[in-house]
């Protein structure tokens, strides 16, 4: 599923609060892509998609839904200055979420059916000679069953993730 908005607008992240796990908060010019990863049919695994749904009215971003990251996503992210991946996590974070800066790592396995954000960045760098500034928002979940609603833990994590994202408001250069 894809919802992409044409945007070549220059954007910046306004420095507001510290990233929860990565204290590096910078003013970053360029186009921004936000990728929700998961499966809305499997309870808390839909957190990434639901995050995208909640910010779908934001014109300043390009938005993408993914079941999993694949090789061609390296080509996709190569054209952006900044990328945010949002995914559910099996890990139970103290604040319900963890935000981290992603670095390119060529940690390959035998399968190419799903790649980690680190490997996608690695391929992007390797094939296209550059990679975007990339963050990963991991939101804790606990229920992964087919067809069941999202857990309260996941809903709380999603709320905090959106608050975090909105606090680190992204504005266009034109607006600034």
């Amino acid at each position: 599923m894809i919802m992409k908005k044409t945007s070549s607008m220059k954007s910046v992240i306004r420095s507001g609060q510290q990233l929860l796990a990565d204290p590096e908060t910078l003013v970053i010019p360029g186009s921004i892509l936000i990728v929700g990863i998961g499966n809305s049919g499997r309870a808390d695994d839909g957190l990434g998609w639901e995050f995208i749904n909640k910010i779908s009215n934001r014109e300043e971003f390009d938005l993408e839904y993914r079941y999993q990251l694949q090789v061609e996503d390296a080509e996709l992210i190569a054209s952006y200055e900044q990328v945010w991946f949002v995914d559910a996590s099996h890990e139970q974070y103290p604040d319900g979420l963890r935000v981290s800066k992603v670095k390119p790592i060529g940690n390959f396995t035998y399968t190419s059916h799903q790649l980690s954000p680190e490997v996608v960045l690695f391929l992007c760098q390797d094939l296209f000679g550059k990679f975007p500034d990339t963050r990963l928002i991991g939101i804790s979940g606990e229920n992964w069953n087919l067809g069941e609603p999202m857990s309260d833990l996941a809903k709380n994590g999603l709320k905090k993730a959106l608050e975090f994202f909105n606090q680190h408001q992204i504005i266009t250069l034109n607006e600034r």
Partner: protein, 482 residues
Amino acid sequence: MSRKITIDPVTRVEGHGRVTIHLDDHGKVKKTYFHIVEFRGFERFIQGHPYWEAPVLVQRLCGICPVSHHLAAAKAIDQLIGIDPYDLSTPAQKLRRLLHYGQIFQSHALHFFYLASPDLLFGVDAPVLKRNVMAVALENKELAKKGILMRKFGQEIIKAIAGKKIHGIACVPGGVFKNLTLGERDYFLNGKEIPNIDTMINWSLEIIQFMKEYHIKHKLFMDTFGSHPSGHLGMVSGNGNMELYHGALRAIDHEGNVTLNDVPTDDYEKYFSEHVERWSYMKFPYLKAMGYDNGWNRVGPLARMNICDQIPTPLAERERQQFFELSGVKVNNHTMHTHWARLIEILHCAELIKELLDSPDILERDLVREGKPRNEGIGIIEAPRGTLMHHYQIDDRGMIIRCNLIVSTTHNNEAMNQTVHKVANDVISEQGEITEGMLNQVEVAIRAYDPCLSCATQALGKMPLKMEIYDHEENLLNEISN
């Protein structure tokens, strides 16, 4: 001591399959099975749904070839409202064909670059961690980039017509939902945002050249690995040309004798039956007139090369002729040549896409036709993996009461089983220690067919490779996983 070896699941295919190889006391291959162990059941649970839902529902069979199911179902549903293939408006016909060729282009690119190329570039006994497209990307950057961009091109064609790259909607009963805008068409022609269709044709030629050179260097492997005689089935146009969207069904035996003589697709039930084995969810289609033992056929790129008189686009036809000249056979039964045939089809589709993009008809708005309703509809197309059959019957309220799907991979069931047996016999029989590399060769042979096991049984496949070795009393002796 007799043994049973299990490869479960088979990797780098779409869906979930398992191979068991039974060895006798001397380590000689006694029998082999390619089991399909997932079950989807679309034929059954689509019953009771209104007919117009079919093209949308059935494409959920698969994430790789949903467009093919969408189109086959749409052709059948057209008939339910009284519209046969030639009754469609010209823009609708051309837009459906453009969608179809975009699908074949991206699916073939996915298979060759992502799934098959590691086998060819690194060898069938390469280390496990090297058998993937990431290793291709690291060692063959240009090849990997072209693969990614070629697949993207096909997917963008699909997105432009169906709204999404996967599980979009283009067809409505009697036509298509939308035309292309000028901007959407020019996106594929001007080369500003993505490499254009002329680049796709050039890259297709380059990759065929790669394959021809590979064949020269690895002739023995290409000409013998997994090779065995088989029938071949596909679709041709009225003048015998390769036809991918609508035509007549033609089959030949392994020597080229015609076994199904250009019969209308609507008559398929007169000629085909399906056999069932208790060890697989996938059926075994065959030509009734020849019986189960002799009436099975390969389908897909290799079969299509064999059954057609020519390819109706100039560059692909030139490559088809070279394909037969260089392979030195009249009918090509070399399983590994399926990769070569697949690349010629990539080129053919690129040429067809260019023709259609240059046609002003795809910008027109005469998109839907209406006819007199019927209770039965049959839609057959040549999907990337071969002949795909959809057949629906409805009641007077328009509810589906019967659905029969004979999917491309299902046609290839017996052929894949024969190939597994051939390779196991050649590679594993009486070899003493069974290595992981030997087992991978069995998978290499299966991958040549590009099987889509999810489609063929109507689950997302888990991908770990596991081998189990049993003694003659079914005791587990050893287990190897990667």
